[in-house]
């Protein structure tokens, strides 16, 4: 399968999801730093009769990280899933301006098959993205996350930190222009968290837009350009990270 934009459109229904309102436009150009990579307008979401999101507007730009914060159950993960095309908004529009081949999702789940080896896992995911990486490329990317030594071992034997680094290797293989992060640092030791933040910075430097759901506000805030604060299913703050007043937000 080629990874051209037209092939993708035939492959899969457009993931631009709309709950009504204006028609959704799609730009697939490479764009420059500062371009809008994903934009959300008036998104609302129900779970059954429970309202979890209401009237959310925000955007993530190339080369920047958008930190999504809020208390438990504020709808952070739901918003991320809606932006990544994994869930449908009950209302509003999501406009993703890069093809799916250039989007990567890194959650707390490690996306690994425990009985497959690290290399086999990576190869499988590469094929899902229409890539056929050579052995050398695989080794290089495993080296980068410090797993070259255990490349042939089943992912099920890995510690949480190792599994999440393998997951990170998957993101590197994709070479994304838009990255969705759902608390990827949960349960990681300080060293792995440090590596993760460094690599997120690296992805930003390469021009990717990052949407980042975070539980560690104080630690992650210095790495973000924008902040979206969700409270009571709505937006409490959306703007530059430098001007964000964390207030009573503890997590």
């Amino acid at each position: 399968m080629t990874s051209s934009a037209s092939a993708h459109e035939m492959d899969r229904p457009p993931r631009k999801t709309s709950g009504g309102g204006e028609p959704v436009r799609t730009h697939m150009g490479d764009g420059e730093r500062g371009d809008v990579r994903v934009e959300v307008r008036g998104v609302g979401k129900f779970f059954g009769s429970k309202l979890v999101l209401r009237g959310v507007d925000c955007a993530a730009l190339a080369g920047e990280a958008l930190l999504v914060v809020g208390g438990n159950g504020a709808g952070k993960t739901t918003l991320l899933k809606i932006m990544a095309g994994l869930a449908r908004p009950s209302a509003g529009v999501v406009d993703v301006r890069v093809p799916p081949e250039a989007c990567a999702y890194l959650g707390h789940a490690t996306f690994q098959y425990p009985r497959l080896s690290a290399v086999a896992n990576l190869t499988f995911w590469a094929r899902m993205y229409g890539l056929a990486p050579s052995r050398a490329e695989l080794e290089a990317v495993l080296e980068r996350v410090g797993l070259a030594r255990v490349a042939g071992e089943p992912a099920g034997t890995f510690s949480r930190g190792m599994a999440q680094r393998l997951n990170l290797a998957r993101v590197f293989l994709i070479g994304p222009r838009l990255v969705f992060l759902d608390e990827p640092g949960t349960g990681l030791d300080p060293a792995s968290q440090e590596l993760l933040r460094r690599e997120i910075n690296g992805l930003k430097a390469s021009g990717a837009a990052v949407v980042w759901v975070s539980h560690h506000l104080s630690a992650d805030l210095p790495f973000a350009e924008k902040v979206l604060h969700l409270r009571d299913a709505g937006v409490a703050y959306f703007g530059p990270a430098a001007e964000f007043d964390a207030g009573g937000l503890t997590c």
Binding site: F46, F47, S49, L51, G55
Partner: protein, 224 residues
């Protein structure tokens, strides 16, 4: 919203007229006697059950295309009424079979299809009540609503072929009706139709009210 109270009174009256037709108007069948009168209830029940399942099918397709809450609620309402009516049709059919052919159950294609559909849509109702998240549950149920109805003709034909090899214990059940009997059948078909409409619309209205309560929460979001 059509007035449910008026419809309820109407369906009561229609059913009463239907009963009069059954007991006073239609002649007594010669070989089977009074048991044959089950047929006037059995047939409309089975017929409207099938209509219910067709409504589930259409509403499910509509829900998949538009993802509106209304279709989902309608599909649920129709499925409930359909399971109820096909269940009653099975019971009445079984009593009929006992009286007519001395067995509680025969491999009659219509009866078998009704039974299988009862199983399928009872499963559908279990799925509806399984406590999945709102939109996902509606979607999953819509998919099953489509698949289930696609199965109806296949079940019917396979039941028919299956039976044709087994020397069956019965003859065709509807043949040789007198004109009075036909009129009674039609009147009862209509009466049960009014009852069906009342039940479906009643359940639909209830579901709609739930939906409105939910929509009130989302109010004020528009234009944001």
């Amino acid at each position: 919203m059509p007035n449910i109270k008026i419809l309820s009174i109407l369906s009561l009256a229609a059913l009463a007229v239907g009963q009069w037709f059954i007991w006073s108007y239609a002649p007594l069948e010669e070989t089977m006697g009074v048991v044959q009168k089950i047929f006037y209830i059995h047939m409309p029940l089975a017929w409207w059950a099938l209509v219910s399942f067709f409504v589930v099918f259409v509403a499910s397709i509509r829900h998949l295309m538009k993802r509106d809450a209304g279709s989902d609620i309608l599909a649920g309402a129709a499925a409930e009424v359909g399971v109820l009516m096909s269940g009653l049709a099975l019971v009445s059919g079984s009593i009929w079979g006992r009286a007519a052919w001395n067995v509680w159950w025969t491999w009659d294609p219509r009866l078998t299809t009704t039974l299988i559909m009862w199983f399928v849509y009872a499963g559908y109702l279990v799925l509806r009540g399984s406590g999945m998240g709102g939109e996902r549950r509606a979607l999953v149920c819509a998919v099953l609503g489509v698949v289930a109805f696609l199965d109806v003709p296949l079940v019917f034909y396979s039941a028919r072929i299956w039976r044709s090899v087994h020397p069956a214990v019965l003859a065709s059940q509807g043949g040789g009706l007198e004109p009075e009997m036909w009129r009674t059948v039609l009147v009862n078909l209509g009466a049960f139709g009014v009852l069906w409409l009342t039940l479906v619309l009643g359940r639909f209205g209830l579901g709609r009210a739930e939906e409105r309560a939910r929509a009130l929460l989302l109010g004020g979001r528009e234009g944001a």
